[in-house]
Symmetry: C2
């Protein structure tokens, strides 16, 4: 994989939707994306939430581009007139909205009776954008790399609903972004319940001392102890060594492990209750 | 209650904390405050999250002041050197940080062994600010009304932890802000489970038709039907008529009512599991 000249080091996340400004919805996308960007070695400098208002939306995008390599926008990609994200982003990029044939075909295939819905705007993406189909909904995502005031910038458009955005990012977008990232990290989390921090640390003191290619870091909160396992990948062909460490921790902590991943105890419980 | 000349019509909420930008914490304060501001008749135009970085924090406050009457800041009021919110806000207001005697006394009373902790910064508030003691923690809140580039502006500083911020806002701050608000609304919510939207509406069709001083609006999502009860208060002495409507709905829907308030079904369940 050859490196492009353009590297993404900093990002701002702009969440779009009047329901967010009314407090009807909590913006969980910004936190999810910030964690994912950190894993790619990208620093998030700001989160911004704006409503479905063209002037303020345009201002937010311009300010975010001024200060960052990458602007990620979530929301405002729906079919109605108040969904302005793609249109305004395209106008700032000076890239007209054009129909993406593959996305159009995919929507036709999945919704043969699509004339019943207003799907006409979904396949319209900024010219030259890389398209990401939506496996859990209708609005596709897109990544544009473009020249802005003489500098290279990137805008990533993603749907607002977390159930669409999160799998799109993990399964389709992340590897496209990784190409532009200065470093690559793998971070994994092993979460423990029912054991104190000092006891947990004492059981892995040998692993904490002997850190070479894979590093282990403990965190603790009121309800859990978390071990973060990190590996910095120097080249794309380097082996993923984190799985061996995950298995080592599972072997040592047994039933105290309630999650290998990002979910808190509360999140695991909420998922169980669904 | 006499009206001040200065009215607050628009607000931006600036949440401060590197843990938010790393995605370790989801910002729920902005949604809570937006709902509360809507009840006061204040429009929230933007949410911004910045880290504990002096330059970016100052830039965020200045941009927010430029566009809005009120800037609410949550977080960054702790005792350590990376807690910069009060210091930077004070410098922008051109109001030195001075010790608030009442807050100082209160902290001394509650923590007689306070020399064990570093509480020295907590009583330092921007000069002329109105102080709000923290009933659930240590960092006080404060409201400053000041002149900025020839215009009146307000900055409200609040602690970051929701368990401190929310009761402080509801019990102490809200009535202080209300003095500056153009209109006053009461909004209340009655939430139903196990009944469909059309059935729920049919049971209150008479109330939906006959809306005079108290208005009733239905919402529905996948798991619940919500009725919002709203009353616009023309003067501060007007009676609160919403309670009668709440009781009317409870009488009609009985056990379908799982919450009178802001919590979703998921939130009620999570609280029950705690």
């Amino acid at each position: 994989m050859s490196r492009p000249g353009f590297l993404i080091r900093t990002a701002e996340i702009v969440s779009v939707g009047t329901e967010l400004l009314l407090g009807q919805t909590v913006d969980t996308n910004a936190a999810f994306l910030s964690r994912e960007l950190a894993e790619l070695g990208i620093s998030t400098y700001r989160h911004t939430v704006v409503g479905d208002n063209p002037e303020r939306l345009e201002k937010a995008i311009r300010e975010a581009l001024e200060d960052n390599d990458l602007v990620i926008m979530t929301g405002g990609l729906g079919p109605t007139d108040d969904d302005l994200t793609a249109e305004i982003a395209a106008s700032i990029m000076d890239a007209p909205l054009v129909k993406d044939a593959a996305i159009d075909q995919e929507l036709n295939r999945r919704y043969p009776d699509r004339e019943r819905y207003d799907f006409s705007r979904y396949p319209l993406l900024p010219q030259d954008a890389r398209a990401f189909p939506n496996d859990n909904g209708t609005a596709p995502g897109s990544l544009s790399i473009f020249s802005w005031n003489g500098r290279q910038k990137a805008i990533l458009l993603l749907p607002g609903p977390p159930a669409e955005m999160e799998p799109m990012f993990l399964n389709r977008v992340k590897e496209s972004l990784a190409v532009y990232c200065p470093d690559r990290f793998i971070h994994r989390y092993v979460r423990l319940y029912g054991i104190g921090e000092s006891r947990a640390e004492s059981l892995v003191s040998d692993l904490l001392k002997d850190q070479t290619r894979v590093t282990l870091a403990p965190y603790a909160s009121a309800s859990e102890v978390v071990f973060r396992i990190s590996q910095k990948l120097s080249d794309p062909h380097e082996d993923d060594l984190t799985e061996a460490m995950v298995q080592e921790l599972i072997g040592r902590f047994g039933d105290h492990v309630f999650e290998v991943g990002a979910r808190s105890l509360e999140g695991v419980l909420a998922d169980l209750l669904r």
